[in-house]
Symmetry: C2
């Protein structure tokens, strides 16, 4: 890495070519989680879509959010389905099926399941209405709680509470911490780049008395 | 990875030991971005805190969000400072300073800068009031736009617009896509585990006509 860098002002960003701006601004928050969100329609048609915006909101109650584009977008089936029965699933994407997961974002015409054309398998667990992804080892059954409109750009923060959580025994340590490398999880950058994960550090809960003597970096 | 897995119901999660629940639920959304948020107080004291909740909300305007714990928490200095002058910085954490970044979460007493004790360096760019992190190659100067309360658990979604964006030339391709591996970015799992990133795939914008023939996975 050279020390050379580029500086974009707000105006520079506004003046970027649309595709370049989409790629750049979608990647500048850093790595994002890769999750497939599964729902089912009133007519019984399952829907599956990849999201990179799933976010932890709280542990007790166990609340998870994700950001959804304006209605009319390809993702609107997910929202209609969530409104219909109040449930959805969040399924981690593993390195073995990143391409299958990626293509769930294609705009399939009409009300058609993404599972079959994308080579992924529906799975129904514990009488939960929404479909899980069989290929995923780490999956959550979610109960819809609230949709918060973000008026600045017409997106919505969808919040739900975890009703079911399935985790691989080998990926969880005795303190409940998941090893995402052992789970074969991946991350997303921007709209279409996928990354594998390697654990490089784990530090204790940060107490002032335990802060190492870093000296002053120059 | 064996196929053995554990199933937690909502009640199981509620009944977990508090620390185990914190670790588990903080890691079940998958990999999270590692960012340091820099602010400055009315008295001119800089503040720096690590956040794993930074999230892309939109590209035009370029809106970024992050989730903040309830007031009274260690992070409240950041919020007071943002309210004071409307600016903050978001600085990517690289593998060379994960430990320094981690310890910004210690509850230093009184109004004291986290930069010095954590071995990180303040940097002021382009007359922007809030401090950037010199050790970070990829950084954003943010203008506060809106704080949306999440009443379900007393957290807040803080939204801002990018005013300045500094990216390493070598990490950005001609289409604006960042290579997070070349940028030496890291991800966070849970509260205290850090991961390096390796790019394993990049796929085209997903069109129905371009979906590969995956066959049906069994």
């Amino acid at each position: 890495m050279t020390s050379s860098s580029q500086h974009f002002s707000k105006t520079d960003i506004q003046n970027l070519d649309r595709i370049k701006r989409l790629n750049l601004i979608n990647s500048i928050t850093g790595i994002k989680p890769a999750n497939l969100i599964g729902t089912i329609s009133e007519a019984g048609i399952p829907n599956l879509a990849i999201f990179s915006s799933v976010i932890h909101l709280g542990s007790n109650p166990a609340l998870i959010g994700f950001v959804m584009r304006p209605a009319g977008d390809v993702r609107r089936h997910s929202y209609e389905n969530i409104q219909f029965n109040g449930t959805y699933t969040i399924n981690h994407v593993h390195s073995s099926f990143i391409e299958q997961a990626h293509y769930t974002s294609a705009k399939f015409e009409g009300e058609v399941s993404e599972f079959d054309p994308c080579g992924l398998t529906e799975e129904y667990l514990a009488d939960f209405p929404a479909p899980f992804v069989k290929e995923s080892h780490l999956k959550l059954g979610m109960r819809f709680a609230q949709a918060i409109p973000i008026e600045l750009n017409g997106t919505m923060l969808i919040i739900g509470e975890i009703e079911h959580l399935i985790v691989p025994t080998a990926a969880m340590d005795k303190d409940g911490q998941l090893n995402l490398m052992r789970a074969d999880d991946v991350g997303i950058s921007g709209l279409n780049c996928y990354y594998s994960l390697e654990k490089i550090g784990q530090f204790p809960y940060a107490r002032v008395s335990g802060v190492p003597d870093f000296g002053k970096r120059k």
